[in-house]
Symmetry: C2
Subunit: 180 residues, 2 copies
Amino acid sequence: MQEGFTLWFTGLSGAGKTTVSEMTARALRERGLAVEVLDGDVVRTNICKGLGFSKEDRDENIRRVGYICHWLTEAKGVAAIAAFISPYSEIRAELRARIGRFVEVFVDCPLEVLIERDAKGLYKKALAGKIQNFTGVNDPYEPPLKPEVHLHTDRESPEESAMRVLAKLERLGFVPRRAA
Amino acid sequence: MQEGFTLWFTGLSGAGKTTVSEMTARALRERGLAVEVLDGDVVRTNICKGLGFSKEDRDENIRRVGYICHWLTEAKGVAAIAAFISPYSEIRAELRARIGRFVEVFVDCPLEVLIERDAKGLYKKALAGKIQNFTGVNDPYEPPLKPEVHLHTDRESPEESAMRVLAKLERLGFVPRRAA
């Protein structure tokens, strides 16, 4: 059985977590790995139903996802990919300590770029005070200080970002290098 | 996609949870369902590492397994099978409320029969005071009051028990009836 690991994408809304994580998932599947992607929407509406946006609720949300990733990693040998804003560093450190084979990917994009892009119009609403607890605007985001991968999605394409994640997984020995 | 459900086996050590749950898993796979069995040993040594046998730790253990079952049930449409002593009724009720499609199977066997069988010699040790917090001997077990299935493993074979679980799943509409 392959050895599992957890690939954790953290970053602001609109930074590219979903895009890059899905691209990475595809690349890993092409290499024959069993991959499971934890989707924020499914998790929000199902296993974290009723949880809000307070620090406690966000932490509980991430903790639940973490248990699933841990189980997939340890018991199933799966490459578990999670893409969540996960703004608090303490809970991310808790997952790292518990899971062990944990790769943190900081999907970094400057707030001003995100506000300008604003594909879903959420930043506009948040800045106008119509959305409360919107991370980066009126709720904190604690950036990772030592992520395994630090992406800059304002200056690199999703393909480049995914390639960089893959290269890191190879260097860590979590993914076999592709034969030349 | 098939609709998932969680099949929860609860009962004392040695009552037959693992045997009947594995037999049920096999029968469900034969009918083409995607099945995932949560194994107590794997969970104990991995995702619940460091947790002990206090009520709080046992509840936390079951809660973690519950998140995984919930995710398998809702997001993956899997038949999630869990076999744990899970002695406390409150936490089982919590899982039932959260998961919804939750089928509780009480694997019931009188304590005196278990003590007489004592395949692993654990009851002897517990009765001699060499094991602390051993459910049924020196730690409580709260039997389910309204389980979907109440097995009596002192008077029925594992095959009969598994058949009764399967019949219940059919009646609930969670498993299609096998064509005659």
